[in-house]
């Protein structure tokens, strides 16, 4: 019995020792690469030796999945790397996996995630837990496609992710803007709301004709943030939400988000399914939201999708008369999403090669063309000819102009605030708590993982 117990203790210890020695080569590689002492060709050489790369990404978009299989897989085959796409339902799954493996002592070379498509609080969580590979982004050859100088205000989307400094620990890959679509078969131009007050007025005339994706889904969180920006009691919009939580403090945050949450709570009886006193029906994901929209159950649908209407029409997931519209004026959240390498990536060199490929002009053009995901690279750094090709690959806007979208863009709230705002929505609106917003926010701040 005692021997068995000893064996139980010894086995993981031995396994750990083995993993540690196996990780040494990866350690050295990381140090050399981040020092800049490695040539890119050496990285490619090592990537071929590693042989494969595991890319964890949200697998909810069919055209993206097809693009991964038809375009990325053959492209990486040419580099001598077998591409292993791992589709997950939420990025948090990959983050949890990385953190669990790190806590189990699996260091570099021993984990299972090489690259993860990430932004916002998920990146902030990885960064806070020191679970990232290191500042690699500006060392990639294709870093020249991105603006890194903080002198140019446009670089902020590359340098800050939900207000958190990226420090080169993730590479911008895609950009998005939160855009709402309207079904023109049901609502004319004059009747289309452009502010939250107008939306409420519309719903008073047409109860039940709107809903939004339920937080904690990020699509829902973003809608809540826009409502909070628009109802900022100081009238400073998104600006007040750029600082981290420690700087703002719980009571000030509660004061800032109060009116927005109040608006959303009062809106509940006018949302889909709330007629007759039943609770409103919040869809769990984009597919469910688009189902309601396609079916005429709601007149407006909001999600991240700069080209969402064009791709939705092409795929038949949007009603025929769907058009994008400017809503809410001045608070249309725009951000980038990134590719990050966890600290315990089993194939770090292959991960670098994959990310470099993903930010090449070629990959960005075909992603735009086939998936409709806006470019993550900065077009003003490209040659005029390249820029034109990139522009032509875009599916195009329907009902709005690029200039209008740019004029009304707003940044995300700081990542440290997102979890608190989400918890406040769940408690104050979904669970219909009778406690004050100040109490709820104070408790949510208290419970945050440190």
């Amino acid at each position: 019995m005692r021997r068995a117990a000893l064996g139980l203790v010894a086995a993981p210890a031995l396994a750990f020792a083995a993993a540690a020695s196996a990780g040494e080569a990866e350690h050295e590689f990381r140090a050399d690469f981040l020092d800049g002492t490695l040539q890119w060709s050496e990285v490619e050489q090592r990537a071929r030796e590693e042989g494969s790369v595991n890319f964890y990404f949200w697998g909810g978009d069919d055209s993206l999945n097809v693009w991964m299989d038809r375009v990325v897989t053959p492209a990486l085959d040419q580099e001598g790397i077998s591409f292993n796409p791992v589709r997950i339902t939420g990025t948090k799954d990959a983050v949890d996996l990385v953190l669990a493996e790190l806590n189990a002592g699996k260091r570099i070379g021993a984990g299972s995630v090489d690259v993860v498509w990430v932004n916002g609080e998920n990146f902030a969580a990885l960064k806070r837990q020191d679970a990232l590979f290191g500042p690699f982004a500006q060392l990639l050859p294709n870093a020249e496609n991105l603006e890194w100088s903080s002198d140019d205000p446009r670089s902020v989307l590359n340098l800050r992710d939900f207000g958190v400094e990226t420090l080169g620990q993730e590479m911008p890959w895609s950009s998005e803007q939160y855009v709402c679509a309207v079904n023109r078969a049901r609502v004319d131009e004059a009747g289309t709301p452009s502010t939250f007050a107008a939306l409420r007025a519309y719903l008073e005339e047409n109860p039940g004709k709107f809903t939004y994706v339920k937080p904690p889904h990020y699509i829902g969180n973003t809608f809540v943030q826009e409502a909070i920006y628009a109802h900022n009691p100081d009238g400073t919009g998104a600006e007040a939400f750029q600082a981290p939580l420690e700087e703002i403090g719980a009571s000030e945050l509660a004061r800032l988000i109060g009116p927005g949450l109040e608006y959303l709570k009062n809106l509940e009886p006018l949302l889909l399914g709330a007629e007759g006193g039943a609770g409103p029906h919040y869809p769990e994901d984009i597919a469910a939201l688009e189902g309601f929209f396609l079916n005429g159950q709601i007149d407006f649908a909001c999600k991240f999708g700069l080209y969402g209407v064009a791709t939705g029409l092409a795929k038949g997931t949007y009603p025929e008369k769907a058009e994008a519209f400017i809503f809410p004026e001045g608070y249309m959240i725009k951000n980038k999403s990134y590719l990050a390498i966890p600290a315990n990536a089993p194939n770090p060199a292959a991960a670098l090669v994959l990310i470099n490929y993903m930010t090449s002009l070629e990959a960005q053009i075909s992603k735009l063309e086939h998936v409709g995901l806006p470019a993550g690279i900065d077009p003003w750094l490209l040659a005029p000819q390249e820029r034109r090709v990139l522009e032509e690959a875009a599916p195009g806007h329907i009902g709005v102009e690029q200039a209008e979208l740019d004029e009304n863009a707003a940044p995300d709230a700081n990542a440290t605030l997102v979890d608190v705002i989400e918890a406040a929505w769940l408690e104050y609106i979904e669970r219909d708590s009778s406690r004050t917003i100040a109490d709820i926010v104070a408790e949510a701040v208290e419970n945050l993982p440190r």
């Binding site: 806590n103 189990a104 904690p216 039943a278 189902g291 079916n295 979890d419 949510a444 993982p449 440190r450």
Partner: protein
Amino acid sequence: MRRPREYRMLRLSLEMAPMALVLAVLFGGALMMAILQAMGFAPWFGVNTFPDFSHFRALWTSKAFWVSLGLTLYYATLATLIALVMAVPLALALIKTFPGKALFSGLYKLPLMVPYTVGIALAVVMLGNGGMFSRLAAFVGLIDDPGQFLRILNTHYGWGIIAVYVWKQMPFMTLAIHAVLIGIGRDTQEAAAVLGAGGRMIFLRITLPQILPGIVSATLICFAFNVGAFEAPFILGGGFPDTLPVVAWRYFNDADYTRQLEGMAAVVSLAIISGLILTAYLIVYRRYETKIGRV
């Protein structure tokens, strides 16, 4: 004499080993982990306050938990009862001979071969406000747009959830009861008929007690499944307040790690409650069996 006995013991333990292993490792291990986490042991999140009953307290003192428990038991019980009421006459009919019996006996088992998820998808496609029936109703002009159709899914009445459970479990119960009926034959019923008992009396006094073991085991299995099921209430349910498995999942998906421990507490609470209900059910049934002198 010794060898055969030892051999028998060895064989017996070999026969039981796979089940015992599965129970001890997969089930026992998972249950232990759940209980430990619910009591504050989760060093991988940087939380270790073991033993700590605050997660249970937070859960049990919230009104929402009891509403969720009520919903969970309501869907599970109603679905089991409806399926049973449909299954008993069907099983009784199936021991008679009638034209097309072979075909029908095959047909009614079809839902058994189709996974729950497919049943749920069918419910969404047929019964949803964007489903076939609502579009058909809008097309023929009964309603202006499909959204106005009667809401069957995603309400707290849970008709969609119950429909899926019944659709899947009615054939299962029929199969279980039918097997018992075949086992006992028709002799006692015929004897009762010869002695002058009417159809209703035969059913209540002869057939029902005879098939009771089948009814108890089938309802036990279905009820236990319904209480713990996740997909149907998640996809077809009415949103907050959700059934307990969905509540646990939501807590588990929360960015706030302390909520994940509360999710574990919800899972453990559900296991305790459904365990208590099933044990009480079995005790009552055993008492009955003793009373009628069958055990």
